[in-house]
Symmetry: C2
Subunit: 218 residues, 2 copies
């Protein structure tokens, strides 16, 4: 599928999982796409733990439900009411959780490109997640990134060593459809902004409708 | 271009920039792809500062050269010798730097999905970077992510407010070619690992060649 079509079709999925399993060859292509991501110093510092056991999925679901309550308690009025209608996960329905970890020890003691920016390794892991997400979308799968959890809980759940940081739980599975608009937009939580609002010329705050024109320097 | 072709063609570019400018419509498509990335709570917390001024490019180049020396001083023997042959940036040659920032204030006081994972906003910004990188690759452009810099220097260079964190300097420009293998592999710095080495079943450390088979729980 064409890259731009995939980028525009990709959604954060919570509701649409059918529960059908992902075929092995499809999953291999999706994970290979993740593993082909850029990484600082070619460290490839990611791990993918595939979770399918119903008891483990249920355990994570219960933890996320508790964290949902924590967030809900911080809201009031319209925000609280709107949030009450929003689904935040499809952990059990998707049937597959991909837990993505960051291993800072990968790549030896001198990771090229990380001495000044410690988080560069973490950034590499997220590049892999985005590759995974796009590949899954191209394969007609849904992906939902769940972030209502405590890292120490997730590390314990999949027995990650202390030095590895859990970065994401991704619900991955077959979907009935990928909706045209993000769930949070359809629910009235928040709307997408125009591109112009995030593009600046030469220095922050200098906006221009014509992004080809470079503004003179102050 | 097909997604998987793009994912496999994408390289981290330092050497191959021709210096030709990026056409405005192409740049708009590439930035629109970034802006279509997933974001926690639909916060879209990214900013893109387009830097073309030669004086500013030269200033950043000089700063990166200093940081290269810092890293070089940490190496010895074969590592030092191998690193001496590696180019780490094409800041002036690309003719365009895209400075990507993370604005944690975007999305209001209650960003859905960020209460337990503070870095979730940062992760969103990296998803946008990976979309940008893939779109640029599909357009035949090269992208080089430079991380030999201090964040405070880059923030000052493009006048980012204190609360915005610079996440990346991306060299973006026309390239003569995109090589088949990563630069760091061709230079003998490090090699790509097999997919099996990063995939686990149910819990960390349980490896399987057949990634479709779920291992029993301990």
């Amino acid at each position: 599928m064409d890259l731009y079509d995939v980028i525009n079709r990709r959604r954060d999925t919570r509701r649409e999982f059918t529960g059908a399993g992902v075929a092995p060859d499809v999953l291999t292509r999706v994970l290979s796409a993740a593993h082909a991501a850029p990484s600082v110093g070619l460290s490839q510092p990611w791990d993918f733990v595939l979770v399918r056991d119903p008891a483990r999925l249920a355990s994570f679901h219960d933890h996320v439900a508790t964290e949902r309550e924590v967030f809900a308690a911080s809201l009031s009025g319209e925000r609280a009411e709107t949030f009450s209608r929003i689904r935040i996960e499809g952990i059990r329905e998707s049937g597959l959780g991909v837990v993505v970890g960051y291993d800072p020890d990968r790549g030896g003691p001198n990771v090229l490109g990380r001495h000044a920016i410690a988080d560069a390794g973490l950034y590499s892991v997220v590049c892999a997640i985005q590759n995974l997400w796009l590949a899954a979308s191209a394969e007609g799968l849904g992906v939902g990134w769940v972030s209502f959890y405590r890292e120490e809980f997730l590390r314990y759940l999949v027995a990650m060593p202390e030095h590895i940081r859990p970065v994401a739980w991704l619900c991955v599975g077959e979907v009935a459809e990928l909706p045209d608009a993000p769930d949070l937009e359809r629910c009235g939580w928040r709307h997408r902004s125009p591109l112009d609002s995030v593009v600046h010329q030469e220095s922050y705050g200098r906006r221009s409708i014509d992004i080809s024109a470079s503004a003179p320097i102050a």
